[in-house]
């Protein structure tokens, strides 16, 4: 065992940083040394932000989005259409849909997708609370907005089966060609679905 080169607090911070996704030991050291040299209140602000993150954030009891309040501002908003639920994988997807400014319904966050290889099954997702929401009545349509990849599709198919007996309209976001892309690079499935979903111009 060699003697410790770096003081314990520095080593500890490096260790904590390197547990974060996408951060290796080099980046972790760089971040730690940056904070060591930065103005004192910068480090203090970071520390405070981290603390508040876990203290003030909770999950909305209705839609399971992250929020400071429960119900969250969207679920508590009477001007929104509570008969229209957009089901998404993660809280960040809510942000993406909100950016369109065209969706006036409410959300439901699953917190994941069915992924048998990773051992994530339906029971690990917030599916039962969604069904319960629908059973309570007043829901006309459920828009399944999971990602258009294998896991997202699997989850959508699973949901479709569960929603069918509940008598709500279940829809899926359209799949097709993304804005700014190039037809010659489109894969066969995307192109097929774009053909199927073609519209009058």
């Amino acid at each position: 065992m060699g003697s410790r080169v770096l003081p314990e607090p520095v080593e500890r911070l490096i260790e904590e940083f390197s547990r974060l996704p996408g951060i290796g030991p080099k980046t972790a050291s760089r971040l730690a040394f940056f904070l060591l040299r930065a103005p004192k209140d910068q480090a203090a602000q970071l520390a405070e932000a981290l603390q508040q993150l876990r203290e003030r954030i909770t999950f909305c009891e209705i839609c399971y989005n992250i929020s400071e309040t429960s119900p969250c501002p969207v679920c508590a908003d009477d001007t929104r259409d509570h008969g229209l639920i957009c089901v998404v994988e993660e809280p960040l997807d809510v942000v993406a849909v909100e950016r369109t400014r065209e969706f006036h319904g409410v959300y439901h966050v699953l917190h994941g997708v069915i992924s048998p290889v990773d051992g994530v099954g339906p029971e690990d997702l917030k599916i039962e609370p969604l069904l319960e929401r629908i059973r309570q009545g007043g829901v006309r349509e459920v828009i399944v907005a999971t990602n258009p990849n294998m896991e997202g599709e699997a989850t959508a198919m699973y949901l479709a089966r569960l929603l069918a007996p509940l008598g709500v309209r279940a829809t899926r976001l359209a799949r097709g060609l993304p804005m700014g892309s190039d037809l010659e690079y489109a894969d066969e499935i995307t192109l097929l679905r774009a053909l199927e979903g073609r519209r009058e111009i």
Partner: protein, 265 residues
């Protein structure tokens, strides 16, 4: 540098995980190099030109650049996309099971074209045939054989006597079936019914089309799949996550199928 800078290969994507801002690390199975891990840059962006060609269970032609750590996919063009795997959850669940088996049984060693061909023909079957059980477990048995884990089903693994259909048990640790005389009454090893004995041997030695002529009751199917799973789990030293999903789905579907007509093939 001794490493090749660039190569072309066909591949099927077995699994993938997100990496960095918009990248993914893919686990591929290729005919020449076996299982390889590659980095696909930017494929989580919505305008990615490669994303659709590098989805799970898509067969693609790739151009790969060698890098120091992880090879990088430069180009990808899909050959077969097995569309109905993406439109039928039961088909998808079987494909996940096949992919987990292949991933679990292979290291990063040299490839086998026969394994690749088996994978491709299985994905084709899983996206077309009605009997998904047969396509799945035929793959399982053939894969064991190709990778050197072939269970012995013809001679007792202890005394080497030719096996008769009755009273055998499966001993995964010994690599196959044990005759009634050698087995004694060891309660820890599963017994194999004469029908399951027959089905297992068919799966191991007969072409798929011949296996498709077997009439299989649900009881036999459950027995055969449990025997095979026990064998896999012993070899892999872990449980199969996708097998649990497949079972959940089946249980769940049975109740739902009572209400909705079965989806056609």
């Amino acid at each position: 540098m001794t490493q090749e800078r660039q190569y072309r290969t066909e591949a099927v994507v077995l699994k993938r995980s997100d990496f960095g801002e918009a990248d993914r690390i893919l686990t591929l199975y290729t005919p020449e190099r076996g299982k390889v891990r590659v980095l696909a840059k930017g494929i989580r962006r919505i305008t990615s030109r490669k994303a659709g060609h590098l989805e799970v269970f898509v067969r693609s032609r790739l151009l790969v650049h060698g890098d120091r750590d992880l090879d990088i996919v430069a180009q990808a063009e899909s050959v077969e996309t097995y569309r109905s795997l993406r439109e039928d959850l039961r088909r998808a669940a079987c494909a996940y099971f096949a992919a987990e088996l292949l991933d679990g049984f292979t290291g990063e060693e040299e490839g086998q074209a026969a394994v690749y061909d088996l994978l491709v023909e299985t994905l084709r079957r899983l996206s077309a045939v009605r009997d998904l059980w047969l396509a799945t477990h035929y793959f399982e048995m053939r894969l064991l054989g190709l990778l050197g884990y072939r269970p012995e089903l013809f001679f007792c693994v202890r005394c080497r006597a030719p096996l008769k259909p009755e009273g055998n048990v499966l001993d995964p640790a010994a690599g196959g079936l044990v005759c009634p005389r050698c087995a004694g009454d060891d309660p820890n090893l599963p017994t194999v019914s004469p029908q399951a004995f027959e089905v297992l041997r068919f799966l191991q030695t007969r072409p798929y089309e011949v296996c498709a002529t077997l009439s299989l009751t649900n009881r036999i199917r459950r027995e055969v799949e449990n025997l095979l799973e026990g064998y896999d789990v012993y070899l892999m030293e872990r449980r199969l996550k996708s097998a649990a999903f497949l079972r959940d789905l089946r249980r769940h579907w049975q109740t739902l199928d009572a209400q909705t007509p079965e989806s056609g093939t």
